[in-house]
Assembly symmetry: C2
Homo-oligomer: 134 residues x 2
Amino acid sequence: MIGRLNHVAIVVPDLPAATATYRDTLGARVSEPVDLPAHGVTTVFVELPNTKIELLHPLGEGSPIARFLEKNASGGIHHVCYEVDDILAARDRLKAQGARVLGDGEPKTGAHGKPVLFLHPKDFCGTLVELEQA
Amino acid sequence: MIGRLNHVAIVVPDLPAATATYRDTLGARVSEPVDLPAHGVTTVFVELPNTKIELLHPLGEGSPIARFLEKNASGGIHHVCYEVDDILAARDRLKAQGARVLGDGEPKTGAHGKPVLFLHPKDFCGTLVELEQA
């Protein structure tokens, strides 16, 4: 069912510093920061040859990643995102197997303008999993 | 400098259960478990079209991931591994920029039989980074 690893998301306390780390220290290609107010994050995309790293920083009040940063002051890996062909079929298959889909179970529009869902970390090896319709 | 994302490593408390989650629930292709006594882990490789997920479980006494599992009973993402063309050149560039290389700074032979190094999480956005010579 799952296809490509679309991205690994890393929450960072200082987005310019993290961008410099990936660009200058690790020598990767990075994007300009992109504000995503609907998601409560500012993102910098690190382009690797086979996938992306997304550096995330809270944007505005009530950002969904604010609490993660409180608990992980240096930042840390927040989630992995796997691609699926059909997000509703994927959701229904997962639910039929007892896996918990976060929120109301309806796909939202993700950072790339595509339908996404998040799965409960306790059902996936302690890992927050995002599914994105490819 | 960094190239492909070689893998994401996820430490899991129950390797057969985690394998079943990735194989049956998420529908991915998974390997048989592979014991790596020199690394103190048993690994299952999850093959995605563009990269790998490595499920890790402690093997033997003094496994380097035992403490992680004590702190993260449900498991969690342990590290990301980026490929580099020349690991000694990469190390020297990183050290020249003040980044900390773990251990004695000499590459070890990693899970894929290639030279690897680990970088200090505090210097890389709270993320343990492995470099593997491609």
